[in-house]
């Protein structure tokens, strides 16, 4: 039993949601989470709206989201940590509940990205890195991760064929997740032949911008025991930072120190080791990222991450299934919703509600969420 638990989760369909606005997407996830927890809006003491707000047309979206969900006059505010916004929201909510300031807090991760014109999106993309010293040379999000990929390839012999196994695996599971953006599998050849984005990353190595929302309801131990007959506890939380500039980082650029630091904190708090993890959701913003994450989280030794894919150890039925809800690559990446989406998948697994994708006897789940180009990383460990 932990001090703070999850009593409900909800998840909208991710993808190009031309049918829905930001607030309506938030409502889809929120409604599902309340139904799941069997509570009402009046039970919620505060809401944290998590999004990378520069993608939204609405400025300070917590204002309209809280209004639309009927959450006034309870406190609400935005949490922003780029792609890790809702993982940081979960950490913030944990602190609010553990401090006894609030009993039940809603974390609403939401993002509306496809409404931006492609010029707007590309202009934003150009400012993903250090805007003084790196963006003036034409950087992109894929370019930064591609630089890690090239370093890993040169040092360990990792190949583009091995990287292609990530979208092949994750798109395969996306076909079983009705809420995923992409419902069709891909073959290795298609990945390798897809358009080059930033060498060596090709179109199918990259996740896609998407619209979507996911909601997590957390509660104090007393409330959890009262309200939930199948609680999931927050056992470990880790959050760390790295220099935002690539030039500010050290080492051979074959791993994310920020993930290692966050993982160390989370494992210590949860008192578990990497081998104790039954199921994981990791930040596969790009194929190479999933491979680095295996190594940085301690699932594989440095340089051997791709071997896990070759041996199908991260598939359903393998030693440690990873991203078997499709991951970012199949589900799409509505930035602010992604972290809460990962937690939603883990909660279903730890309750034994994952249907065809259920991992036998799943007790410990781990989610890892990277922010931006690796300046933030959050690792969350849940226990069923």
């Amino acid at each position: 039993m932990g001090r703070v638990g999850i009593i409900g989760v909800g998840h909208s369909r991710f993808g190009k949601r031309s049918d829905a606005s930001l607030r309506e997407l938030a409502f889809e996830a929120y409604r599902e989470a309340l139904d799941d927890a069997e509570i009402d809006t009046s039970d919620i003491d505060a809401s944290l709206v998590c999004s990378a707000t520069h993608y939204d047309k609405q400025r300070s979206p917590a204002g309209v989201v809280a209004e639309y969900l009927g959450l006034n006059p309870a406190p609400t505010f935005n949490v922003e940590a780029a792609c890790a916004s809702s993982a940081v929201g979960l950490r913030t909510a944990w602190a609010l509940v553990n401090s006894r300031l609030h009993d039940i807090v809603a974390i609403v991760g939401v993002q509306k990205m496809t409404e931006l014109s492609s010029d707007e999106i590309q202009e934003l993309m150009g400012r993903a890195g250090d805007v003084m010293w790196e963006s003036p040379f034409g950087t992109t999000m894929p370019a930064y991760y591609a630089m890690y990929a090239n370093a890993h390839m040169a040092r360990y012999g990792t190949t583009q064929e091995q990287m292609a196994l990530v979208p092949v695996k994750n798109r395969k599971y996306g076909t079983k997740n009705p809420k995923a953006m992409f419902q069709k599998p891909v073959e290795i050849e298609e990945v390798l032949k897809s358009r080059m984005v930033s060498y060596p990353l090709k179109l199918y190595d990259c996740c896609a911008n998407a619209d979507g929302a996911a909601c997590i309801l957390v509660a104090s131990r007393n409330k959890v025991q009262k309200l939930s007959d199948r609680p999931v506890w927050i056992a470990g939380l880790g959050l760390a930072s790295s220099p935002m500039s690539l030039a500010g980082r050290t080492g051979p650029m074959t791993s994310f120190q920020v993930t290692k630091n966050a993982a160390k904190e989370a494992y210590k708090m949860a008192r578990v080791l990497p081998r104790d993890v039954d199921i994981a959701e990791v930040h596969d913003s790009f194929s190479i990222t999933e491979i680095l994450n295996y190594e940085d989280l301690g699932f594989a030794r440095p340089g051997t991450g791709a071997k896990l894919l070759e041996r199908e150890e991260t598939d359903l039925g393998g030693r440690i299934p990873v991203n078997i809800d499709g991951g970012l690559i199949a589900k799409g990446h509505p930035v602010g919703a992604t972290g809460a989406g990962q937690i939603t998948a883990l909660v279903k697994q730890l309750r034994g509600e994952a249907g065809d994708l259920q991992v036998d006897n799943a007790k410990v789940g781990l989610a890892q969420n990277i922010g931006g180009i690796g300046m933030y990383a959050a690792v969350t460990i849940l226990r069923g």
Binding site: G126, P136, G138, M196, L246, G248
Partner: protein
Amino acid sequence: MGFEKFGKHGYVSHAKVAPIVDYLKKGELAGTKCLECDSLYFPPKADCPKCRSTKFDWVPLNENCKLITFTEVFFAPPEFQKETPYLLGLAELEEGPRVFAPIDSRITRDYLKPGALLALHPSTNENGAFYQLEKREQNYLRKR
């Protein structure tokens, strides 16, 4: 004012370290050195996070460096689309600091292995001034 002249397309105008543009225009590579604790910064910093001093001097830098990693960009932000594909690199200067910089278009991808010997050389374009990673030999010939 003036910092928008740094790089191939500048986004930021105001900076205490804007004089880097003038050094680069003169063909000089300059960093900053903290006058209190001697820490060397490149790219330059007006403030020292180690000792919190705000007193610094501009100092010349040795251009020799080696490659850490690179990429070739095919899908670019709007301002850079006419240049695609182009190479970007991360290199470590002999004096310690790392630098993120474009790579000379005369260099091909097969040369770009981690550890490859390069030189960071000032350059200019219609926007203003920047630096780029070049082969050391090319640089040597230019100087002669």
